[in-house]
Symmetry: C2
Subunit: 519 residues, 2 copies
Amino acid sequence: MSNSIFDTLGAIVGGAIDNWGWADRKVTALVINKIVESTRNRPHPWSTASDYTSWKSLTDRTYQARHLPAAAPRAQPTPDAIKELFRRPAGQQLLSKKSTCLFPAFAQYLTDGFIRTDPHARNRTTSNHEIDLCPLYGRNEAQTLILREQSQAAGRKGRLKSQIVNGEEYPPFLYESDGSAIKAEFAGLDKPLLGPSGAPDPAPEKLASLFAVGGDRANATPFTAMMNALFLREHNRIAGELERRNPAWDDERVFQTARNILIPLFIKIVVEQYINHISPAPFNLVCDPSVAWQAEWNRPNWITAEFSLVYRWHSLMPDAINWPGGPIPLAQFGLDNRPLLQSGLVSAFAAAAAQPAACLGACNTSEAIMWIESLAVQQGRDNRLDTYNAYRRQFSMVPAETFADISSDPHIQDILGRLYPTPDDVEFYPGLFAEDRVDKSPLPGLLLQMVAVDAFSQALTNPLVSEHVWNEATFTPWGFELIQETKSLGDIIVRQGSPIDPRKITMTQPGWSYGWHIP
Amino acid sequence: MSNSIFDTLGAIVGGAIDNWGWADRKVTALVINKIVESTRNRPHPWSTASDYTSWKSLTDRTYQARHLPAAAPRAQPTPDAIKELFRRPAGQQLLSKKSTCLFPAFAQYLTDGFIRTDPHARNRTTSNHEIDLCPLYGRNEAQTLILREQSQAAGRKGRLKSQIVNGEEYPPFLYESDGSAIKAEFAGLDKPLLGPSGAPDPAPEKLASLFAVGGDRANATPFTAMMNALFLREHNRIAGELERRNPAWDDERVFQTARNILIPLFIKIVVEQYINHISPAPFNLVCDPSVAWQAEWNRPNWITAEFSLVYRWHSLMPDAINWPGGPIPLAQFGLDNRPLLQSGLVSAFAAAAAQPAACLGACNTSEAIMWIESLAVQQGRDNRLDTYNAYRRQFSMVPAETFADISSDPHIQDILGRLYPTPDDVEFYPGLFAEDRVDKSPLPGLLLQMVAVDAFSQALTNPLVSEHVWNEATFTPWGFELIQETKSLGDIIVRQGSPIDPRKITMTQPGWSYGWHIP
């Protein structure tokens, strides 16, 4: 099915692409504005606080915003029947030709920072509604203080607590060494989410390997733990450099300025590595915060109920992860940082970047995580989200008139036809994932559109990249330059002293080709 | 001294003014944009959290934002010496030719809602940073619930608690009838601020007359108490009308929708009665929220450290208030609602509108409230605000080069010359009030400019007047119409059943003339 925005990119692009495939600022601005303006800007009139607009719904940010109002109830298939749409038929998992496992690894770490549905009340959220690296720094100042080094001594100013294991820097361990209990000093952190409710706790030796971090999901897999460890090292490296260059600064100023630098550096990677990987366009957008300064969509962020379902990308995960020490079945790839400690950080990143991800979409979810799909369907119903077609309209896309408009795969058409009377009845979450992937993108059309809208309108409205903050006074001249020159996770790994070729730390498979070349 | 913005209004206006002196939407938009764009838009890079930009300073809204960064310490006169600049010479208080006492009455009620400097930490604030009528509804949901009627019975849906005294509706009394203690049901409200620290508590019979309200300053004087009572009556009237028109609605929806309507109705009065009174222009601006929808200054509100000093308008208060029952000396005009209960609401409003206010500015503060001026000077120093001239530059005004550029009054020039070596040394707060009032405005130039910038950029960015909320779905068609047709406090009083001529409830004295007429 045609994608209204990305089909028109070719017409916009013209010749403003350099030899390396990077678009100039003007093209980037045109593309971003065209995408974000495909839907209504914030503030959203509705939230999960009430079915009608109220001062509470407009201001209480512990509820989730809504792109569309709560829909009237309608006949729905049972969650068990819908599982068929996600369950992989016997045989091989469908693997992506574009994405490596670094893509889902980064996506999970990124989104766990702001998609924070309260597990006890699925219409509430604990999100700060910003890309603030809270998996690293904690959700509030009390948690940040727990994670910071207390010494404040010269040579250790502004650092996050860390430990050395096998000669490498990691966050400290969260539990006592026998895995029996969380250390008293870390009692104020969010407890790690330990898998599906009712499941037995992980073994003590696994718990003993978990890190003391800001995010309750940063220990979810060795992938998220490696991301967090990388940014912890970069924070401490930046703090060391700031301390050396500004000997009069106290512990507090070194810490705050290092965080000032690290958040936009992370946003740079979000746009220039991650979004460019997702994009079907054969050129790279540049991360230019000034795009947002005059934009009508520059309004305060507020994570929506829809967004927390848009980002259920479990089918990206292969059945087994090719870890340096040997493959780890997906069901065992969680809440256990021992593989990371054994392999070391750079090997872990290199392995993630060397393995193809699975394809995102229907009929491709690993049996080990099917339970999450059922929860997602139920969450969409609990929040009374409108239909797939209603959201296509809301994001300026043509609604599906036949099941073949959703998927070109007869098997998926057949399942949809058995689940729903007409395409207009298809629910939001099943429809999102049943849809064909956009050519040259790892994502289906509506999902791609919604991810792009929210990514740009959230990342580029961060207060640290706002008009009167985005300058050398905020970051120091050295820090401002560091942000500008960072384009990928590989750039960070290399400047931390690794001799690896940064291009190997890639979300896009080395053999991938867009099939045509920019002049 | 010339005022860069208001001097150019004449050139902008052209002929787009109707016979009643109301500017059309296009002129209004031009004027508002010109004013607000005279300074940097939000987010402000600094707050009182730290002297440099940090994630904390950009996100922790319990600190005050800053228009300018903290200034280096400089030699300053003693607070006692500065008192001379505010203290009125023996004899009559200077009275305004333009303003009635309804002007300071409304200004205090308005600003107490969002200028909420924490009395225990003058760099912190308890503000919600919005015009949200929190003096009526409370600062948070727990307080709102305490103030709402619990019965939820038909005929009483969505109402605020009230009582009838002498046949008129008021908020319930906060204290037990002997004034000995706050009633248990109101324990969760902010306690009323009972005057200067160290002063004895008011007599029990005064305390027994205080109302249970959302704001800790809403009982400050009978003026603020009458404002609050008026809006309580209007809330309950609107709730009754909504209940009658929407019989299927529950208590919650009636309450929330009445609040939806009352907040923009209040904003309408802020712009169309209060700002138009302040303005030196001989035409009225219209309150058109769409002005803000595309504006670059449409950014989240954040009350600044400067703003809490800009609004110290104590010199507006005459030495005695001409209450219907006889004059009340200013020192006794506080924390006592008995005069209001005796006179009734409409008589109180009419009396306020019939008495000239005093002139705002140097050498005109009543001895009874001189202690507040000293606190204000100290607050500016504690928050290390930059100089008067630094703020003139920041708001696109020419800095003063001589003391005569600040004031045309030789007596004030003389005091300034004794207090400060040069005009560049004049502190922010003393400079604000030493300056000449703008011709045809009750306010001096820099102060007028700062009030106008903040008023427009805060009132018109309220979420209830945002692009996708400002519609009949939010307010009901009846409520939307009610907002549109409300232009003044008199309009509210009249539709509550009073036979008074609404033009008598005026902030501008009846005899006032701009001296020339719009064609």
